[in-house]
Each structure stands twice: as C-alpha cells, then as structure tokens.
Amino acid sequence: MAVSFVEISGTLEQMRQLLAVDGMEVMIHSASQIAPDRWRVEAYPTQAAIAAVQGLGATVTVIRTEDEVTAQLEAGWAGVDEPPIA
C-alpha cells in the first residue's frame, strides 16, 4: 500500500485521534509541542488517511509524495546482486 511521508500539526485533541485513523502510521517519537496548544508529528499515511486527518481539522504538510517514498524505499535495495526470493 503506497504511503507518503508527512508532517501533521494540530491541537492536542486532534493529535490524540491520529492513532485511530485507518492507514496512518504515526512516528510516535517525533511528536513535539510547538505552541501552547499546537503539536507536530511525522507520519506515513495513505491518501485516504490524509483526507481523514484533514477532516479532523489537523494540518498535513507532505514532505515526500507516495512516489518519492516508494523511490526512497527502492533506493535502499539498489545494487543487491541476489535475485529476489519468490
């Protein structure tokens, strides 16, 4: 399933709903407070999950698109000589 890499910012209550969003993998250790009622976290969401998060009222900033994340994941395997396992 294709995912992008994003930064999500929002209120405490918005952020506490993120783990329940289907298709959203939150990088939990990246959570930080940026203002009295403003938090920020990094995540790998599907497109549907981004829409759901925006529906909560949180702000989503795309750092890497789905294609860029896919390319990055493939780049890590470049140069491997063995054939993939069937």
Binding site: L19, A20, H29, S32, E42, I63, V69, W77, V80, P84
Partner: protein, 467 residues
C-alpha cells in the same frame, strides 16, 4: 558504499568476521525462527580477563524494514576487531577512540551483538511480492499478519489493562493481528525473536551473562532515547507496572493529568546524561554542528506511549532483581533526509557513523569505569505565561523563564521547592494554558492583575540584589 542488507549478505559478513578475527570474534546460534531461518549473534572479547567482564548487548533488525542497523552493528564489530589486529585507534570525523581505549574495551567488556533479530521479516521486505514497509515478524508465515517484536516483551504487554481507557488509545500497539499499529502477539514473549533477545538480556543464551548495558538500534529519528517508553518517569516506588492496584488507572502521557509516573530505579538514573553523551558521539562522528544534531530524550516524551518494548523490558530487570542494574537505550539512527528506513549506498555512511559514534563512546565510557555523566531533565516551557502574553518571546515571559531556570536554582529555597513546582507546573501548565488561550479577555485580566505586578516586583528585588 554498498552495505549488507539481505540475509545472505549479513550472514556472509558475520562468518567473515568470526573467521578473520577468530581470536576476538565468535559466532553463536540462537533458536531458529518460525520460517526456519537461523538467528546468530557475535561475541567480542579478547583474551582471558582477570576479573569478570561487563556484559553489553547491542541488538538490531527488530523492525524488518529498517535496513541500516544490522549492517552498522556488524561494521562496528569489524572496526573494533581491525583496530585490535593493527594495534591502532579508530577515527571517525571528529571522534577518536585511541588504540589504548580499543584495548580497554576488548579487555573490560563482553560485547554481544545480535545484528539481525528478525530474519523472517527482513526476507519478506526483500521478497517479491513483499512489502518494503513491513516491520513485524512473519508469524504466521503467510498473509499480512505478524507480530511487532518490539511490542511483544513482557512489560505492560496488555496495554488495555495497564492504562485507563483514555490513555490506552495513545498506545502505538494493537491486539488485532493485521493492524497497522503493530500486533502485540498471543501473549507476552510469545515470539521466538522476542525469546532470543530475552535469552541474551537475561543471560540464558550460550556463553552469555545477564546484560548490564543494552542498546536497541532502530531508524530513522536521529535521536538517542532512554526509558521508560510506557509512561513518564517517576520516583514513587509503588507506581510500577506490576502493581495491580494501578491497573486500568494509569494515565499515560497524552492527557497530561499527571496522576501516574512509572518508578524509575535511582541506580539507573544517569540515563539522560549517558544518552546525551552518546548523541554527542554521533554528532562528532558526523562532524555535525549547529542545527540537525542528534539529541537525547525520553521515549515517552511527547504524546504517545509504547508498551512491550525491548528497552523497557531490559530496564525492568533492574527492579525485579535488586542486585542487578541494566542501563537501556534505543538509538534511532539516521533521518528522513538520510534515506529514512532504506538509505541508499550514498546515504548509508552518514547513518553508519551515527551508530558507530554513539556506541563507541558508550563502550569507551563503560570500559573506563568513570562516573556516569549527569544532565538535568529538559526545560519546560512557560506555557501559562506564553498564553497570557500571547508571545513566547515577550520580555516578561523570557524574564520568568530566566527566573525559573537560572535564578531559582541558585537560592537554597529555590533548590528545595523549585523541582516539585516545576514538575507540577509541567503537568498543569499545558491544560491551563490551553484554557486561557481560548479566553483572550480573561487572559488580559490575568496578565494585568497577576503577572505584571509579580514580574515587576521580582525585577525590583533582583535589581536590589544586583542580579
């Protein structure tokens, strides 16, 4: 620089290290996985020590998609063994480990490296069709189920019982096998991969003594972490994960109630100082300065929590056994800019240096036997004052911050009452600030009636004292 990623490549490097440096490096086997794949670890020590060595355990590859940690751990073994063979030191960027320090490490430390803890998962990431984002094991071997090894350890494993219902929602874990948050398994410690790591931590694996130092290497957050992952750290010894009186009542970190804080054993207390030292090692190895430096923080610092983790399990041994102290850390090496979970050949060296830098300074510190570095906990923002003034940079807010952080600790009374006040404020401040921020007229009244006269009076007092 290509680096070993497949199981064949990783196994080849392990065998080469054990063969080429047979006087220092030994390969040992653990229990095979459900998929029938071998799990092996390396032991690194030199000669016969006159006194028992200090057992240190480094683990990598728990999460299948994180490509760099196993390779970086194996190359660390190679660095130490080669430096020993050539009677030389190790220099990486600004970091230098002298030849004498290398010899001290090999003489004093019993280093155990489990580079690839989850081979079934790694093979699935690489296979076709596989999943490059797969982080769990492959139990069962087919389908999209599987257990997140780093949620399967026997420490607050049943998160729905450990927390209250609100805090349980802030845990990145699931009881549903195919769930994205990470399935915790059928029972605590159910997985062979978990059992293998436990055998190394608890010293039941062949030739291994119970670990006194434990580091679990992951990617990609660019931080050295210390426990707890499951809660805020506290000093009340009745607040511990095995006290059933707190079951279904623990408040987590995300709701800022502050009712519960997991007891942190004082004997393992210098965790932040050691983690900071490791972070400096990473920054020195990559010659970093200014922004973008690797930092140190607690795993549960933020909004969310994690249960059943390797690091919390290792630390918990310090509480279960009063005669034992385990210092436990997690390294999140690399950043999204360094390739995230899958660094390319050109990005990998930066990530590798992060791992080498932090672990080499840790090994040097352990072998040296000097006192642990101590660093205070992170400063807490002036939440309420910021809400009242509407600007964290307002001169009154800056003055209050200075009063708290620089002036209060220099007075006898301040040293006594300061820490508990700051702790309570850290808990109550954010919700109070949110409440006030939504009421600008009231915030203005609070500012005129309470804050400005107090700030002015304090300024006058400090002026009279010449400060």
């Amino acid at each position: 620089m290509e680096y070993p990623r497949t199981l064949t490549e990783i196994s080849t490097v392990e065998i080469a290290l054990a063969t080429h440096y047979s006087g220092v490096v030994t390969q040992q086997a653990l229990t095979q996985t459900v998929g029938g794949r071998a799990v092996t670890y390396l032991q690194i020590a030199k000669g016969i020590a006159p006194e028992p060595r200090i057992p240190v355990l480094f683990v990598g590859g728990i999460h299948a998609r994180e490509l760099a940690p196993p390779a970086a751990l194996l190359s660390l073994v190679g660095l130490l063994a080669k430096a020993d063979a050539t009677s030389s030191g190790i220099t990486i960027g600004r970091l230098t480990i002298s030849a004498a320090d290398v010899q001290l490490i090999l003489a004093k430390v019993e280093l155990c490296v489990l580079a690839m803890a989850n081979p079934d998962g790694r093979d699935y990431v690489y296979s076709t069709p596989g999943d490059r984002m797969w982080r769990k094991n492959r139990n069962p071997p087919l389908g999209n189920e599987g257990v997140d090894i780093n949620r399967n350890f026997d420490i607050a494993w049943d998160f729905e019982k450990y927390y209250d219902s609100s805090a349980a929602k802030d845990v990145k874990a699931s009881k549903i096998p195919a769930h994205q948050l990470g399935y915790i398994g059928h029972h605590a410690g159910s997985e062979i991969e978990t059992q293998n790591i436990v055998a190394l931590i608890d010293g039941t694996a062949p030739g291994v003594r119970p670990a006194e130092w434990f580091v679990d290497v992951h990617s990609h957050h660019g931080t050295v972490f210390y426990p707890w992952a499951l809660e805020t750290n506290g000093s009340d010894h009745t607040m511990h994960w095995r006290n059933a009186a707190w079951d279904n009542r623990r408040d987590g970190v995300g709701n800022f109630r502050g009712d519960y804080a997991e007891y942190f054993p004082p004997k393992a207390a210098p965790r932040r100082g050691i983690a900071s030292m490791m972070a400096i090692g990473s920054n020195d190895a990559n010659s970093r300065s200014g922004s973008g430096k690797v930092g140190a923080k607690q795993l549960a610092e933020g909004l969310y929590t994690a249960t059943g983790t390797s690091v919390d399990y290792a630390l918990s041994r310090s509480i279960l056994d009063p005669n034992r102290t385990v210092f436990a850390f997690a390294i999140e090496c690399g950043t999204p800019s360094d390739g995230g979970f899958a660094p390319s050949a050109t990005q990998y060296p930066t990530v590798e240096k992060d791992v080498h830098g932090s672990l080499l300074v840790l090994l040097r510190h352990i072998a040296s036997g000097v006192a642990h570095p101590v660093v205070g906990e992170p400063k807490i923002g002036c939440f309420v004052a910021t809400a009242v003034y509407g600007d964290p940079g307002h001169r009154d807010v800056a003055f209050l911050r200075r009063l708290r952080d620089e002036v209060l600790p220099t007075t006898r009374a301040g040293r006594r009452i300061g820490p508990p006040i700051v702790r309570v404020y850290g808990r109550l401040g954010p919700p109070a600030a949110r409440w006030l921020a939504a009421k600008p007229r009231l915030a203005g009244v609070v500012r005129r009636v309470a804050f400005e006269p107090t700030v002015n009076a304090c300024r006058q007092l400090l002026r009279e004292e010449g400060r």
